[in-house]
Symmetry: D3
Amino acid sequence: MGIHKFFTSMNDLERIIRAPGKFKFEEHNVAAHSWKVAQYAMFFGTLEEMGGSDVDWKSLYEKTINHDFAEVFIGDIKTPVKHSSPELKQMLATVEEKMMEKFISREIPEEFQAVFFHRMKEGKDGTLEGRLLELADKLDQFYEAYAELKRGNTEPDFIQMYEIALTKILEMPLKKSVAYFRDVILEDVVSEKTAVDVKSLTMRILNRQED
Amino acid sequence: MGIHKFFTSMNDLERIIRAPGKFKFEEHNVAAHSWKVAQYAMFFGTLEEMGGSDVDWKSLYEKTINHDFAEVFIGDIKTPVKHSSPELKQMLATVEEKMMEKFISREIPEEFQAVFFHRMKEGKDGTLEGRLLELADKLDQFYEAYAELKRGNTEPDFIQMYEIALTKILEMPLKKSVAYFRDVILEDVVSEKTAVDVKSLTMRILNRQED
Amino acid sequence: MGIHKFFTSMNDLERIIRAPGKFKFEEHNVAAHSWKVAQYAMFFGTLEEMGGSDVDWKSLYEKTINHDFAEVFIGDIKTPVKHSSPELKQMLATVEEKMMEKFISREIPEEFQAVFFHRMKEGKDGTLEGRLLELADKLDQFYEAYAELKRGNTEPDFIQMYEIALTKILEMPLKKSVAYFRDVILEDVVSEKTAVDVKSLTMRILNRQED
Amino acid sequence: MGIHKFFTSMNDLERIIRAPGKFKFEEHNVAAHSWKVAQYAMFFGTLEEMGGSDVDWKSLYEKTINHDFAEVFIGDIKTPVKHSSPELKQMLATVEEKMMEKFISREIPEEFQAVFFHRMKEGKDGTLEGRLLELADKLDQFYEAYAELKRGNTEPDFIQMYEIALTKILEMPLKKSVAYFRDVILEDVVSEKTAVDVKSLTMRILNRQED
Amino acid sequence: MGIHKFFTSMNDLERIIRAPGKFKFEEHNVAAHSWKVAQYAMFFGTLEEMGGSDVDWKSLYEKTINHDFAEVFIGDIKTPVKHSSPELKQMLATVEEKMMEKFISREIPEEFQAVFFHRMKEGKDGTLEGRLLELADKLDQFYEAYAELKRGNTEPDFIQMYEIALTKILEMPLKKSVAYFRDVILEDVVSEKTAVDVKSLTMRILNRQED
Amino acid sequence: MGIHKFFTSMNDLERIIRAPGKFKFEEHNVAAHSWKVAQYAMFFGTLEEMGGSDVDWKSLYEKTINHDFAEVFIGDIKTPVKHSSPELKQMLATVEEKMMEKFISREIPEEFQAVFFHRMKEGKDGTLEGRLLELADKLDQFYEAYAELKRGNTEPDFIQMYEIALTKILEMPLKKSVAYFRDVILEDVVSEKTAVDVKSLTMRILNRQED
């Protein structure tokens, strides 16, 4: 149907709820998540640029706002499924890619297809922008889990989500960003009043990193 | 953790929403769906029994209440994904099965494992009970789509869902049940006041069947 | 209108919320509740069968999936009302029964009426299946209250609901089931991290039982 | 516990949903309903006063804001139940009254009990204020049903609710109010664009009245 | 359009959520809030009357049920905005007033305009009824914040809301009401089990008052 | 508190609902809206670039993802308020700006303040990027209204919102984009099955434009 179809399909992402099936005090949809990821990337991109790196801003913003578009086809498949085996994760990635391709060739007018193929492909590559996307994506997971723990959600899933996201952030090959996150942002995080003891959990993860 | 873990995981199915991402006036969760499927099966099982068939009731009820339990691991993956290719559908079935197995061997005490393996395996086989499960499952899809059309949901997805479910029901190898559905129930369905013209849609599908 | 009317009335039970008027972090509908009750019954029925009892599975499953169907007429009347006086409880039971009868004679085709009357009558009798239904129904109340306490709901209503449900479960004349619940399941329950101190509450109730 | 208990119990009425179990595009709670009833009464009381009647405003406002307080105990029992038999309706009225009495004698400090008993008793008596309460209460039912029909809700329940409420309003012994409603307000109602044909439905009811 | 327009606009207030944008475990709409304010006023008006004051009940009830009607035009503007500067607060008050005037002159039939202008004007004046309105309005803010703290909401916004509301209540020039609130109601408030430590917070505010 | 405060304030925008107080079948939050605006801008920016214009992509994306950030302070004030008078609109713009400034100077570390001031200022200027932002913002209003009309929402507010948004889009000084929207996208829009007659409404607006 063309671009109209593409535009209306965005509305579907407002109805795809992240971490489906888990008890949570507040739900987040994939559209709002994508916006927050773009915002985090804006900040850390600025930080890296101040530190002397060249940021391809067009690429960075397109990677962030497009990175979960394929969930329109496959939904937010539960993370444990994605990670249950490397083969499965690979399979699901292939499916997403195939459905994206089908969508583009069927719905997007020919003159725009090349641009769409380029923009909608997996963005988490080794470039600075790819790494910033990964950091920003993990950071939103970190904040989603943090907000649940803060309000007293005792489900192990969110403790685990917090732990995995924080660990991955601290290990990202983005020196300046990670240092700022650890030395400045995390300080503020652990100083907040929370229902579940986020501070001890965080300290344990930080200490493990330093070994 | 044992049976406690199994019991609490049922709560997750109350949060898995069917047909995720599609606009709908009313949401349905997988737990409530499973109950409705058991109810439909109770009725059509009775009908078949009245017609002279032997119904294995224990098997029928267990098939229905357990048939979507695996969605606790994988969510309600969007139907177009499932049907995008036979390979993909097969892959996803394999994943579900693997995760079910892992869950049983890890969480269910040994003395109950055999029973659980038996009960949780795919129920839509060629037995009378397997066919009744399939009919009942499709019937709930039929009613979910019908309720949306009745209230004025004009999304093509629900028209298509109605069409596919109705077609499959009419083709089920369950003579007595299908006849009753077509001659009695469908009559009542098309006589209701609806926002989208369900009657014409239904007639078109019925006529196609008769060719 | 017939069976179509019966089928669509099930949808109403997806909108009847349990414990109406009380603050809760998560709502449960009567349809999903009925499914969970069938699942609990499946487990404890298995346990009793392993212990040498004869289980009438058809009866057990029908009792569980049908036990709250009458709420379609009367809603989930607040428990304090039901228990405010024996007369009142009796009155409400009579009302439910009368409305059920009226529904069956008006909506259900004659050839199915006998079956429906039989299936929809109050299932909590003294049979093994009736007692398993009662256990399973109380267990869902137990888990609903538990989930609220775990997340920090400090309303006295849920503490009381937990207490009443647990006490009734422990007193059920189902030796094997109660023993397994107390010795195995409850162990796992009290070992979870909870916001409200469920462990002490549970211990107090257990000790009271032993006196 | 005293007045604090009374104040917090009002919060419960924000969670009691009217017409439970029925499909509706928008839910209404009993607290908001009570406010709207007070507002309708304010208008029609003014109208009656302009027409020369003496309005006891204190009584009118207290009747309206208190008229559904007892639902805190018994919930919004489904209307068909209330009307299934005169005995049942009477029984439920008795229960509500008894629970109200118990609440007042237990929770309200002695010095306020007389005032509370007076205010919380059934307000729909034959006084001008009692009749204005009844009109206002029916009018909110009328508007709730109207809003559903306007948006395309085809459930027979709401057509019936519209019909019953409108009929009762037109028959209220409140000459000036009913005339204004019929000649002015209803004109505006039927001139709105609606999904279900409210105009014809209204005309049919009006014509029936005139016979 | 007339009174029909006025009546339907009340429905809009059921959709205006208080304290928009803040995380909360339970939402409250302006219609239900207005009802609760009328109820609090009923109690404290009674108390003042018992203490020998003359209460103009008609005025008191009309002030309470109408005090937030103007939010139908402007929404529940976030409190920090209202208080960011006296000029801004004044500006917003002017806007509300202007829109109210426009609404009345456009929608309300001429014969009722004077009454509406009188009833819809800002009610928090220095009269006994104006002060009772202010007390009741603050009390609902107090209870909204209290309920969140009780359930474990650690957002500073609600601690601040609790603090401001409680402080203002204690300083209201309504001797009898404030004494009863402080000596009786607050005692019950601080004796409840809460997730956030409301008791210490309350004591700190009370002590500050006494200096 | 720094960047942590900025990051968590984004979560507030997930709770600010657009067009508060109006009946709608589906709610949209400001965070998801901002993401959709960035997506529309990505498409029309591409179109303009293909037509030979130079697009400053960094500026375009930052304008879109930041354009409603100030609603975190003031909420989504109802559009009729904004447009009730030019003075009022100006006042509200000033308030937003002042609160943004206060937020930045208080929360954002000094080294980032200049960047934030630049990014958060009103983006709808006369530049190509400013005009693309305006087009994209109106387009989301267009699609929000369209989705409501399609599903049968008969509220005049959404018809008016559709009309205003469409009119403004057609008048935007962005020749290539407007032509593509009118000639290609709008064709697809009016060919969809809708409950309210969107096609005639659109044709009327298009004809008016051509005069």
